[in-house]
């Protein structure tokens, strides 16, 4: 008991610092990615190949002037960065980073204080594996709205205020399909523990058809919905209406400077990592190393492994997370931003009905499996395909999206009100 606690304490400290370091380098990766996509070179001055750039960025943040607008609400202005960073860092706790460690190694005797202490058997390499793991992810996503909204309101500036309001409306809307897509995965797995769901995906469709049994191949529609929603939750392009530079200067963090602004930045990238890690754990097979695990273990990758197995899992999980983060950036620098009504229509008119359908499919599948009619999870893939086809057919008969109509305006140059001259003085 105490041993598990100490292991988790050490693991938590290491994890926390590693992740903060990764966040710093993610910003560099983001700038480099942007440069590649825009055919530039990107930051290359500080250190070899620009690798010390995050350090320079950090020093610059610290040296900047702390500024507070005269019109700001003092308390909330200080509170907002704290409120935004806390849930962003809480999400790491429930991510299953590396299965279960079953080593029981003893530390050498000469170490001070902890010498001779043995690692406990079968300790999960995650900070917490609560029964409500998936719900914890959802709760943290829900709490992360407050920082954005408070920052927008407390700044006492119109740009910030509009940014905050947009963020609130957007995050509330996209939370619904996010929850439903997560739940359709949890329902099929029959548990809400992220570690168990990750372990559940280790395996293949069949011995002949060796496609990994990951949820992305079982419920591709749920995966697409989930990815769309975490992009929107993280306020990133094409959903970054809350901070869209061409309309709102900087959006909700317009008035923030120095380390308080850095907190917003840090929170955004931490939320990205959490989102990517949840996507990997729930949809991309967690720590499952596809195909190679047959060579290494002669079968499916086991849940509990020794030190080498744990590090292999950590590396596989980390690699998948980094690839997913690169996908985030790729999307950001490729797709243009939505208009706000398009954003809302996307959520309410397509994502929510589709996610309800996905959830219904998962429910039907679980029922049929319980009745013993179907056994293999591949049937759910068929269900998802049928759902997409059905949506395409039904979509033709639905009333079309109300688009912006041309309304004649008195005094308008391009859309005149009949009988009124363009100067407006009829």
């Amino acid at each position: 008991m105490v041993g598990t606690f100490i292991f988790h304490l050490i693991f938590g400290l290491v994890l926390f610092n590693v992740l903060l370091g990764i966040v710093a380098y993610l910003i560099l990766l983001e700038r480099k990615t942007a440069a590649w996509i825009q055919d530039r070179i990107g930051p290359n001055r500080v250190g070899p190949k620009g690798l010390m750039q995050p350090l320079a960025d950090g020093v610059k943040f610290i040296l900047k002037e702390e500024f507070m607008p005269a019109n700001a609400d003092r308390w909330l202005f200080y509170l907002a960065p704290i409120v935004i960073i806390t849930p962003a860092l809480c999400g790491f706790a429930v991510i299953p980073w590396g299965g279960v460690l079953a080593a029981g190694t003893r530390l050498p005797e000469w170490l001070p204080w902890i010498g001779g202490w043995a690692f406990p058997h079968n300790v999960p390499v995650m900070l917490a594996n609560p029964q409500v793991g998936v719900l914890v992810v959802i709760a943290i996503a829900g709490l992360s709205i407050y920082g954005v909204v408070l920052a927008g309101w407390a700044s006492g500036s119109k740009y910030s205020f509009l940014g905050g309001m947009r963020a609130a409306a957007q995050m509330i809307s996209y939370e619904i399909p996010l929850i439903l897509s997560l739940l359709s995965v949890a329902v099929v797995a029959g548990t809400m523990r992220l570690g168990t769901i990750a372990q559940d995906q280790v395996g293949y469709f069949s011995t002949v058809f060796v496609l990994p049994q990951w949820n992305i191949f079982i419920q591709p529609l749920a995966f697409i919905l989930f990815v769309t929603c975490i992009f929107a939750e993280a306020n990133r392009t094409p959903f970054d209406l809350a901070e869209c530079e061409s309309e709102l200067v900087g959006g909700y963090h317009t008035e923030y400077s120095s380390m308080k602004f850095a907190m917003f930045f840090l929170a955004e990238y931490s939320a990205m990592i959490t989102g990517a890690a949840v996507a990997v754990a729930l949809f991309l097979g967690g720590w499952h190393l596809p195909w190679l695990d047959k060579l290494l273990y002669g079968g499916a990758q086991p849940m509990s492994t020794g030190w080498a197995g744990m590090f292999l899992k950590l590396v596989v999980f980390g690699a998948k997370v980094i690839l997913f983060l690169f996908f985030y950036m790729w999307v950001r620098w490729t797709l243009p931003r939505f208009r706000f009504d398009q954003l809302m229509n996307l959520a309410w008119r397509s994502l929510i009905p589709l996610s309800l359908g996905t959830f219904l499919m998962a429910g039907i599948f679980v029922y049929l499996r319980q009745e013993g009619i179907i056994e293999h999870r591949g049937w759910l893939l068929l269900g998802n395909i049928l759902l997409v086809l059905g949506a395409l057919v039904v979509g033709r008969w639905l009333p079309s999206t109300p688009t912006n109509q041309r309304v004649p305006v008195a005094g308008s140059r391009y859309n005149k009100w009949p009988g009124v001259s363009s100067t407006g003085n009829a």
Binding site: L135, I138, I145, M165, I172, E175, I179, T191, P408
Partner: protein
């Protein structure tokens, strides 16, 4: 009648009455002092009362957290009704929800705790904050009088604290209940027994048999969909009806096709 409890309730009423926002001549400091005294007295009372109970000392570690969360909850609940600025009230409500979630976790009700956060903090209060922000200007602006001053503090405090006092007197009558004590096995065991009884005659549902490995979530699911299936379905129907109603209310009155596009002349 428990006189110590009655005095504590009266003190609480006095403190809330003093704390409630009024236009000028505010008595916030006095009210806060009385409130702190009340909280101290209530805490002492609770500790003495818990000390009478056998086996409470086992849960001493839990009781520290209980006191912490309870303190946060009481203080933030007071702030919800007494803070002069509406936005701060809503934010204190969020804090209250988090503290209550902590209390639920101490009661081994993880599901309740997380769902409380998701539904209250994540959905309802965000909407509140949204509306309050839209209604009141941002930044450091003073709020209008009608938003700041309680209309009828005396009557409100009297009614609520008479009710609270009665409930407290009833709760603390006789032997202390076990809700302060740490009893993890209690609710789980009851739920499992119920699950066993229900599942006995139903082979179709018997696949997830309630075992000692079954967690809170599974037990909750088994109970909801067997013993409480009808209330659950009724709640679902009610929610659907309210959803349809909300859509009907929110629906814009679309103008007929011919009318579209006749923009109004500006009045000036």
């Amino acid at each position: 009648m428990d006189y110590a409890l009655a005095v504590a309730t009266a003190l609480g009423a006095l403190s809330i009455y003093l704390l409630l926002p009024r236009g000028r001549g505010s008595l916030v400091k006095t009210g806060a002092l009385v409130g702190v005294l009340t909280l101290g007295a209530a805490m002492l009372y609770l500790l003495r009362w818990a000390g009478l109970q056998e086996g409470v000392s086992q849960g001493a570690g839990l009781n520290v957290f209980f006191c912490l969360f309870a303190l946060i909850a009481v203080i933030s609940a007071t702030a919800v009704i007494c803070h002069p600025r509406p936005l701060y009230c809503a934010l204190y409500f969020v804090l209250l929800t988090l503290a209550l979630a902590g209390l639920f976790i101490l009661l081994f009700a993880q599901f309740m705790a997380i769902v409380l956060i998701i539904i209250y903090a994540g959905a309802i209060l965000v909407t509140y904050v949204f509306v309050i922000m839209l209604a009141s200007p941002g930044g450091n602006v003073t709020v209008a009088d009608y938003d700041r001053v309680t209309t009828n503090p005396l009557l409100a405090v009297l009614v609520s604290f008479v009710l609270l006092g009665t409930v407290l007197q009833l709760m603390f009558i006789g032997k202390p209940r076990a809700f302060m004590a740490a009893r993890p096995a209690g609710p789980v065991a009851v739920g499992m027994a119920m699950g066993h009884k229900i599942l006995a005659g139903k082979p179709a549902l018997a696949d997830p048999k309630p075992t000692s490995k079954m967690g809170v979530m599974e037990l909750l699911g088994v109970n909801l969909y067997s013993q409480y299936a009808l209330p659950l379905e009724l709640a679902g129907i009610l929610l659907t009806i309210s959803l349809v109603g909300a859509v009907m209310i929110a629906r814009k009155n679309e103008p007929a096709a011919g009318v579209l596009g006749t923009g109004q002349m500006p009045t000036e």
